[in-house]
């Protein structure tokens, strides 16, 4: 299986634009957000121009069409990750999905899944309270860390974590001591947005389950780049963002095993999530409706479905292989430059296409500035993974991240740009 990059690039008009100094744009920041193919923009616009109405909020023709489009998008996303449509909850983004879980397990202490008071062993198993523990890793993006810290603050629970190895992988050696009967949730990234490391989520999920804990996977960097079958991850809950997988901003996805979603109380409430509302109290619908309050982001869901179509048409395996080759080239090129330190694994084994690095004597901001001046868009800073940077002994880094539209020449341009930065700042 192989990928026709030139054909792909033709679908992304922004890639043809010029960046600073008239240089062709070299977009190596898909880890932050991906560019959008025309098919996605067309799908969204077509929805607005022909079927726009409030999905699930009317009985007229347009609202029927909007509901069909929205639910069709749910089914499409479900198929994309090997799930049932009823297991797909549309959120605002990956971050909101993580918060949904963290708040919901906190709410389970005072609310049953359908409203009213919590009851039964399922509720007890979920609810997080004083003495309970949440387990994360030191590699996490802030989106899969801070919500858990805040949950612990609210619930009087304790946050623990797997440390990171010098290679930028999760250090699982202490797993026996870390996963205990006090552990309520184990939340781990499917792929680090800094080191590219892909932790063995199935093994971690199995350990979580053996202790009776929920296994949560941050799929924000995993789902856009690999063919993912959620059941094979072993996770109970997995989330990701549309905008990192060619889809629109403003929408994300939470997948959950049916029994788990059914046991979780609501998070954001309002219209569309309710069964019966009285001033004295309300009851709630089954999932996924229970978790989708308010008029839904139907146009964005339709755009995300079109992104799934696009990715499947190119082929996730072809995309993964294309990225692997680019990553390999980048690892080789960058490690060959004296003074450059790559922050993740140096081979492409169980490793995705985020390549973060430091340059001796040149601050990441300054590296990024020189690259930007050459038209090369990378990310600089801690990439919302500050504890990971601290653990690796660096304050910040520069990150190049690849996607289906990137080319080998762009990787070479990156390496050349780094050398230019070194020269400019008299380093290396």
């Amino acid at each position: 299986m192989s990928l026709d990059v030139a054909a792909v690039r033709a679908d992304f008009p922004v890639l043809a634009r010029r960046a600073r100094g008239g240089h062709p744009l070299v977009y190596l920041d898909s880890g932050a957000t991906a560019q959008k193919p025309l098919a996605v923009l067309d799908a969204e616009r077509d929805f607005y121009l022909r079927h726009n109405a409030a999905a699930h909020r009317g009985a007229h023709l347009l609202s029927e069409e909007a509901t069909d489009a929205y639910e069709g998008a749910r089914a499409r996303v479900a198929a994309f990750i090997g799930a049932d449509p009823g297991e797909i909850v549309f959120t605002r983004n990956a971050t909101e999905a993580a918060n949904l879980i963290a708040y919901s397990v906190g709410n389970a202490a005072t609310s049953g899944p359908s409203g009213g008071r919590p009851a039964g062993p399922a509720a007890e198993r979920l609810a997080v309270g004083p003495g309970d523990e949440i387990l994360v890793t030191e590699l996490e993006h802030h989106a899969n860390l801070v919500p858990w810290q805040q949950l612990c603050l609210r619930a009087g629970a304790r946050l623990r974590w797997f440390p990171v190895t010098a290679e930028g992988r999760v250090d699982l050696s202490g797993i026996g001591a870390l996963v205990t009967e006090r552990t309520k949730v184990v939340a781990v990234t499917g792929q680090s947005n800094v080191t590219g490391a892909m932790p063995p989520v199935a093994a971690i999920a199995a350990a979580a389950h053996a202790a009776g804990a929920l296994a949560v996977v941050d799929g924000a960097q995993l789902v856009p780049h690999h063919s993912v079958s959620v059941r094979e991850t072993g996770a109970d809950l997995l989330f990701f963002s549309s905008h990192k997988m060619l889809g629109p901003t403003g929408i994300g996805v939470l997948w959950g095993r049916r029994e788990v979603l059914e046991a979780l109380p609501p998070f954001i409430t309002g219209g569309s999530v309710i069964e019966v509302v009285r001033m004295e109290g309300s009851t709630f619908l089954p999932p996924p409706q229970r978790f989708e309050a308010g008029v839904p982001a139907a146009a964005q869901a339709v755009g995300l479905a079109a992104a799934c179509d696009y990715l499947d048409a190119v082929g996730l395996d072809a995309i993964a292989e294309h990225e692997r080759a680019l990553t390999e080239r980048a690892l080789e090129a960058l490690t060959a430059i004296p003074g450059v330190r790559v922050l993740g694994p140096l081979t492409t084994e169980r490793r995705g296409g985020a390549v973060s690095f430091t340059v001796d004597g040149v601050h990441p901001h300054d590296v990024g500035q020189v690259l930007d001046e050459l038209g090369i868009a990378v990310r600089t800073g801690h990439h919302c993974a500050w504890p990971l940077h601290r653990a690796l002994g660096v304050q910040a880094s520069t990150r190049a991240s690849f996607y289906l539209y990137n080319t080998a020449e762009e990787v070479d341009a990156l390496a050349d740009g780094i050398r230019t930065a070194q020269k400019f700042f008299g380093a290396g």
Partner: protein, 155 residues
């Protein structure tokens, strides 16, 4: 390349050879500021002296971790502000802040800003404005605290 217009020689000089660096005694207030995007940080101390009733900037000392812009900027700051009456220093700091938010469209006044005019080109890069202002924000904060005598309570 446009790089030279951003990284003026003055900036690179200050970056490579920072002035007044290191934390010194005595001081009236110390603050620690962080750029949340990249983790750049500065610890900055201000010592004031009362010259005929009008307080003046006796010393600014600092320790900083960060990019060329943030490092050079705080170094230039010490050159420009040390020795000035606080009111004048505050005006310079305001002029610098304004310059940095001008998107590179302002005509900086070299008489007021001294070497700090070198940062005019940085103002064209909004993402770097925070770098250039890190030390200046810290200085304003520390000076306000020193004036309020807050440092005494906070130790």
């Amino acid at each position: 390349m446009e790089l030279e217009s951003m990284y003026q020689e003055v900036i690179l000089d200050h970056y490579r050879h920072p002035h007044h660096k290191g934390l010194r005694e005595p001081f009236d207030a110390q603050v620690h500021h962080v750029n949340p995007v990249c983790g750049d940080e500065v610890t900055l101390r201000v010592a004031l002296k009362g010259a005929g009733g009008e307080p003046a900037v006796a010393d600014v000392s600092y320790d900083a971790l960060g990019c060329s812009i943030s490092q050079a900027s705080v170094s230039v700051l010490t050159d420009v502000l040390i020795g000035r009456p606080v009111s004048e220093a505050m005006e310079i700091a305001s002029a610098f802040t304004e310059l940095m938010h001008s998107r590179g469209r302002a005509e900086p006044d070299e008489d007021v800003l001294g070497d700090a005019v070198a940062f005019t080109g940085v103002a064209r890069y909004p993402a770097r404005v925070k770098c250039a202002l890190l030390g200046w924000m810290a200085w304003k904060d520390a000076t306000a605290r020193a004036l309020a005598g807050q440092d005494r309570e906070q130790g």
